[in-house]
């Protein structure tokens, strides 16, 4: 405990609430309020309605939700596979090689995602690989953007993994591939899981690169929200945003449940 006195604790809590509420909680609460209101002319919204949700959970909004979920799940699974593979490979490299890989995988985070989007657009609009105009270009861009996070969290977990487990397994006669599947990956499972959750959440909310790439038949939810607010349907946009938030939190909650069970093992 950093603060011991009762007064000090109260003051700290007060400071926390003053900082936390306006910055983190209130904007989200405002979205929630807006999604249920018919008018908003004064300081507070008025006229309770669930009508916006009827629009937000049907038709093109529902399609957009499915699109987002499919994109996010595919991108995070791909990113997890690629990122873990690279992290495992990097761990067995000498210092120099590992640094090169670390830097390479940091690039998509360091570069603004608009630039990544543009790069993907330019790279895959000409033969031999034309992905422009297909859903694959969106999934590809998301994968590139989130792989960095998968790589980093798995890398960090590998560093923490005691090499004694691997060595004990090898001394018992297990081939390296057997050690990987039966010992290393199960021990890394909690981190893989956390990485998957992070990738999923990032992909669900990705807008800037997606804006440059999405084809008409593959319109993710953030683009839908942007489009709705852009044409002035603020309340519908708010309802769709709440749906996006709820869907993401629901999946993250499920993922974290799996994680606690994995780390308990």
């Amino acid at each position: 405990m950093l603060v011991h006195s009762r007064k000090g604790k109260l003051a700290t809590w007060a400071l926390f609430l003053v900082l936390f509420l306006p910055l983190f909680a209130l904007p989200l609460l405002v979205i929630l309020a807006a999604s249920f209101s018919a008018h908003w002319s004064g300081a507070f919204p008025s006229g309770f309605t669930t009508g916006h949700y009827e629009a937000a959970t049907r038709g093109e909004s529902l399609t957009a939700l499915t699109t987002s979920l499919v994109t996010a799940v595919s991108a995070s699974l791909l990113a997890l596979a690629v990122g873990s593979w690279a992290a495992l490979a990097a761990a067995s490299l000498k210092n120099g090689g590992k640094r090169v890989l670390d830097t390479l995988f940091m690039l998509p985070v360091a570069v603004p995602s608009v630039v990544v989007g543009l790069a993907v657009l330019v790279a895959f609009s000409k033969p031999p690989m034309i992905l422009n105009g297909t859903r694959w270009i969106v999934i590809l861009a998301h994968t590139i953007l989130v792989t960095a996070f998968a790589y980093q969290s798995v890398s960090a977990a590998i560093v923490r993994l005691d090499p004694a487990y691997e060595q004990a397994a090898a001394s018992l006669g297990a081939r390296p591939s057997y050690v990987l599947w039966k010992v290393k990956l199960p021990l890394l499972l909690p981190s893989l899981n956390a990485a998957a959750g992070l990738c999923f959440a990032l992909s669900m909310g990705e807008l800037s690169a997606t804006m440059m790439l999405y084809p008409p038949d593959w319109l993710p939810l953030p683009v839908q929200i942007y489009a709705a607010t852009d044409r002035g349907s603020l309340f519908t946009g708010a309802a769709v945003a709440v749906v996006l938030m709820a869907a993401t939190l629901l999946v993250l909650f499920g993922v974290s449940r799996v994680r606690t069970r994995a780390s308990y093992r």
């Binding site: 487990y165 060595q167 004990a168 090898a170 001394s171 018992l172 006669g173 010992v183 021990l187």
Partner: protein, 350 residues
């Protein structure tokens, strides 16, 4: 399957830092060899060279007749137990023990029987369904041993297996290990430790290591009663080492003449006289040494006296004294001529 271990001039270096220098050592089939030395002496490196986790810069390692120097660890047929046990936390005890057999594709029908056998041998049969985190340190240790034995290795490598246990458990496990070895007389054991008691209790032979080199090798009795180097004498049994000048049938230590067997050490040479603290007595006697008490430690059953004699600090372990001397008192110590070993100058740095 019985197979020994042979080191043939094995050197290991990390960059320019030599951590094992031309080790020549043979562990006979069925023998328990302790590698004894302080940390950084190269003993663990030697064990890891047998396991295949370090690659020798030069020299060969043999297990039985087989040259394993270039083989990856999983093809070497060894059992290994390390200090922190490294039980797989996501597997139950029985799965841990079965791991090696599954990895080596032992027929499925055989595995449960052999798991039960290995757990029986280490007294862990009733814990088969537990996870490692539900076991105490001593129990985890037994499971780690069962896991290593279940693959029926010809060679068992033990790397400081008892150092994470408290003193009482440790002496119990020492007895267990001795019993296990009696039950498995064909298994050669390489036992790395920094604890001389473990080495003296368990080993058929002890290899004493220091600064990447083998200093001495022999049976515990040989090393204890007649150490060949100063390092062995002080590391095994914490002996007093007194600088002396050799005369005929006697040596002079400061102004005192001491009667000892000078063996083949040349007259007039300087040498080191090695006397075990528990063989030093208080009071006058043959080979008397007078000095001033520098420190008194009560250790329950014994008193340890540190006495400054002619510029050297002499240790004496005495059965508990009714009236121990105080610090600064003048006392006389003695030892029997046959209890001292003279180390010639030529062998002081093995």
């Amino acid at each position: 399957m019985s197979s020994g271990i042979r080191f043939d001039r094995v050197s290991v270096a990390y960059g320019k830092n030599t951590v094992l220098d031309a080790l020549d050592l043979t562990v006979e089939p069925g023998e328990v060899m302790a590698l004894l030395g302080p940390s950084g002496s190269g003993k663990t490196t030697a064990l890891r060279a047998v396991a295949g986790f370090v690659r020798p810069a030069s020299g060969r390692v043999f297990i039985g007749e087989r040259d394993v120097t270039g083989l990856p660890p999983h093809q070497r047929g060894i059992g290994m137990v390390v200090q922190q046990y490294a039980l797989f936390p996501h597997m139950r005890v029985a799965e841990n023990v079965a791991f090696g057999m599954k990895a080596q594709k032992v027929p499925k029908s055989e595995i449960p029987g052999r798991v039960a056998e290995a757990l029986d041998m280490t007294g862990m049969a009733s814990y088969a369904r537990r996870f490692p985190r539900e076991l105490s340190g001593g129990q985890q240790q037994r499971v780690a041993i069962a896991r290593a034995l279940a693959i029926r290795p010809g060679v068992l490598l033990l790397d400081e297996p008892l150092s994470a246990l408290d003193a009482q458990l440790r002496s119990g496990m020492l007895g267990e290990l001795a019993r296990l070895h009696r039950e498995l007389p064909d298994v050669s054991i390489l036992y790395v430790t920094h604890d001389q008691v473990e080495a003296l209790t368990l080993a058929d032979r002890i290899a004493v290591m220091d600064k990447a080199r083998l200093k001495d090798c022999g049976t515990p009795q040989e090393l204890y009663r007649a150490p060949r180097t100063e390092f062995t004498a002080s590391f095994v049994g914490n002996a007093n080492l007194l600088p002396v000048r050799v005369g005929s049938g006697a040596v002079s230590f400061g102004a005192t003449d001491l009667k000892v067997d000078t063996g083949d050490v040349a007259q007039g040479a300087t040498a080191t006289l090695c006397v075990r603290p528990h063989l030093v007595g208080l009071g006058d006697g043959p080979n008397a040494l007078s000095g001033r008490v520098a420190e008194v430690q009560w250790r329950g059953a014994t008193h340890r006296l540190y006495v400054d004699v002619a510029g050297e600090r002499v240790k004496a372990d005495l059965r508990e004294l009714r009236t121990p001397p105080g610090i600064g008192d003048e006392v006389t110590l003695h030892f029997a001529p046959e209890d001292a070993v003279l180390l010639g100058a030529g062998v002081t740095d093995g």
